[in-house]
Symmetry: C2
């Protein structure tokens, strides 16, 4: 990472109500009260069967860098609503709590805690916005990338979308998230220098226009970059000009390992014609790259129609997750501790059952069937429950409780790992390559039915009997 790379102080990137509540907690004696918050999401983007968790590394950096500058405090004082005791408290503010989270790259499902924060109420409340925006953004893009990569069926997919990203972070961290989701490279140079996501790229139409004619532009490029050049062939006309000029340039320089890129027009038709022209010229090794407003739906369609494409560049529809640009992660209070340190579960009720929270300090197991090696359900338990795989375990649908299944030969893997303990990071951060490998392995644990593109099988996220009983007792006593 470049040494003059300085992270901006993003401490005040919070919702203002986190400060008015913090001030209120302090003044009403709740400031040091330990609170438990869960991060979870409700719906998988694009009606998909799974999402990919990402962004944890940036949450860790944020927590470690939290501090209010004197200017921040002066700004808050100028608002005229905060007590001096609260402003004093902020002067020495740092995170002193515990955090558990799933590793980046984990396939995740609605309703289960992806992260649990246990901290004094002011702190736990304060980090809400930044934690959510970071996890929501990167999980959104990793999930979209995973779908696109799946549609490409083994062909490399490069992330090309910086210019249409929603801001600089969206470009940089979006490229990181896309790589976690399975893209093989990016056009975003800084994502390479900061994170090691391989950056690639060759020419825009302006290169071709800059020269007097298209052949000269290609000729100069091949001379400068004889090692696997990619020529953009649609500045004037793909079939009558671009491809013939590319062939002529490759031949002139004796280049056989090369590519052409199609960035407009009907890529099924053009790629098949282009393939034939390249093959007729003996350029069998020349690849065809396509890059015009692609996403998983277009890629599936053009491949089904027999498009001859070896690699894809995907821009705006990936970097914004255009078809569904919001990941709906939320941050909800699930418990507080009383003065004696007892954990008191809390619940948020709603007329809409999907919006009722799962109370209490919890943990999550992924249950793997030993004889198939496949995941069959995630089980949310109260934090001190232990699953003994030596005994049969009966799981049930939390809504339709007559849907039951008894597991015998299974493995239970805890998904939430300790990240912070008493404000110190205790997590050994994996490299981006390790995250990608983990994502690949973890996706392997899931049935194809869950990974299906449309109408996927709903993976089960169940509650333990104990948690289900607690939740229903709380709901009844609330009515």
């Amino acid at each position: 990472m470049p040494s003059d790379f300085v992270r901006e102080n993003h401490t005040l990137l919070c919702d203002y109500y986190e400060l008015t509540m913090g001030n209120g907690y302090l003044l009403s004696g709740f400031g040091d009260r330990t609170a438990y918050f869960d991060v979870f999401f409700r719906t998988i983007p694009n009606n998909g069967g799974y999402a990919i968790f990402a962004g944890l590394e940036q949450v860790i950096e944020y927590i470690e860098n939290l501090h209010f500058s004197e200017e921040d405090i002066e700004f808050l004082r100028s608002k005229g609503v905060f007590d001096e005791r609260f402003l004093d408290y902020l002067r020495n503010f740092k995170f002193t709590g515990d955090i558990w989270a799933m590793p980046e790259g984990t396939p995740i499902f609605p309703g289960e805690p992806l992260m649990i924060v246990r901290a004094p109420a002011i702190q736990a409340q304060f980090i809400e916005t930044y934690v959510l925006l970071t996890l929501n953004h990167q999980s959104l893009i990793a999930t979209k990338a995973s779908r696109i990569v799946q549609a490409a069926g083994g062909r490399p997919v490069s992330e090309f979308g910086s210019r249409r990203a929603q801001g600089a972070d969206a470009a940089i961290l979006g490229a990181r998230a896309a790589y976690i989701g399975g893209c093989t490279s990016t056009a975003c140079t800084i994502a390479d220098s900061r994170f090691g996501v391989p950056a690639t790229g060759t020419m825009a139409h302006s290169w071709v226009q800059m020269f007097d004619d298209e052949f000269t532009a290609f000729d100069v490029y091949c001379k400068l970059y004889p090692d696997n050049p990619t020529l953009l062939v649609d500045t004037y006309n793909v079939l009558s000009s671009g491809v013939p000029n590319a062939i002529k340039a490759f031949k002139k320089h004796g280049i056989t390992k090369c590519a052409v890129r199609l960035d407009s027009g009907d890529i099924t038709y053009l790629s098949r014609k282009t393939r034939k022209m390249l093959d007729d010229a003996g350029l069998h090794e020349c690849k065809i790259i396509a890059s015009n407003s692609l996403d998983e739906y277009v890629i599936r369609d053009v491949l089904a129609q027999g498009a001859c494409i070896d690699a894809f560049g995907v821009g705006e529809r990936l970097i914004t997750s255009k078809s569904d640009p919001v990941f709906d992660g939320v941050y909800k209070l699930v418990a507080i501790e009383d003065e004696a340190g007892n954990v008191i579960p809390k619940i948020k009720v709603s007329e809409n059952p999907a919006k009722i929270t799962n109370p209490h300090f919890k943990k999550v197991y992924r249950l793997i069937e030993n004889h198939t090696g496949k995941a069959i359900a995630d089980l949310i338990c109260i934090h001190d429950e232990v699953i003994d795989t030596a005994w049969p375990l009966t799981i049930f649908d939390p809504d339709y409780t007559w849907k039951r299944k008894t597991l015998t030969d299974f493995t239970a893997v805890e998904l939430l790992k300790p990240i912070f303990k008493d404000g110190k990071c205790v997590y050994s951060k994996p490299s981006l390559e390790e995250i990608c490998k983990y994502r690949e392995e973890q996706l392997e644990l899931h049935w194809d039915e869950v990974k299906r593109f449309e109408n996927p099988h709903n993976y089960y996220v169940d509650l333990s009997q104990k948690l289900w009983d607690l939740k229903h007792d709380m709901l009844r006593s609330n009515r």
Copy 2:
């Protein structure tokens, strides 16, 4: 702005091909060749009738901060494709060219240059990605905000979306852009400390849950914040619990200037019932704020159904422009200068007429009819054309050239202002308040038909006869 606010070095936030092309321009003798690029967009998000231009201030900051650190150069060297002469060139890289742009807050239309960059080819090419991502992002959000504010019909709209934004910049600069588009406040605290967008906010559900019961939570809050408190009334049940407890708390503290917020359920039904309960309790001044998955479509619908809502909080659907999350601004070469300094127009051809560029170094006039004070068309001219409003001017549709109109009593306002001259910023940056005022005045110049929510009138963007002739000559000679 806080003094420990340090801007990250975003110089390497470029598409990698800008570097491979830059290296190529240098080595092939085109490095110092003056190039002209236009920024323009092709389609208005959500099939709207206009967009709002935003992001210029951040483009200026980016250009002024451009520099390659030694680490950046070392990183590029490690890629093994760049010539040492090019790496040397980057060591002293700074922008030395000219830029013209429209002021932020300008209503903009497809096809017209929003910004023109005139600079040595390497520089002009290099800034492409960052310029586009900045203008695309902020124009997207300002445009969406303008639609939502319009739907709210004078009721204040607050931007609430940080937690679902696509990264930190998307939250911070998105709040800025939403304000330019007409929002009155934000929940994003740092947008207030950096830009002066007023930050507001009161409580989340967690505040209500933190206390033993809802009334206590409201009671404590009113005691702490007696000056215009807003109570969130849907943690348990709006009508049977939230509103009665809010009324009880307001009454206990003698508060009449206050508000309740509805964040779930059917807000038409709930707001009407809530209004009646508040009025029956004599709380006529108590406002009702609604904030659950809103956008211009939902707001229009609930208001048409008689919802009693005084203000809106709009989150994810604004901060991501969910219904259409991409602003399709592009950056295209339109001319180069030959060695004698003559401007040689360039064109990008396409089978798709919408993708053919307008060649040459240009300027844009907005033509205002004097007797109505309304804008009737924008006219794109070659840079040295002058419109003499003393003479009648005939404008025509560039596609259907028989559609003609002759203007007599009109004013021609040049839209592109000088921003950089020889690498120096020559633009006196307006304050955010000035930008908002300008946006309001400029929108007033447009007919309601152009600002209509659906099926708006297509505002005319015409070419001067001279530019039209040039373009058609170039197209013919290309075939």
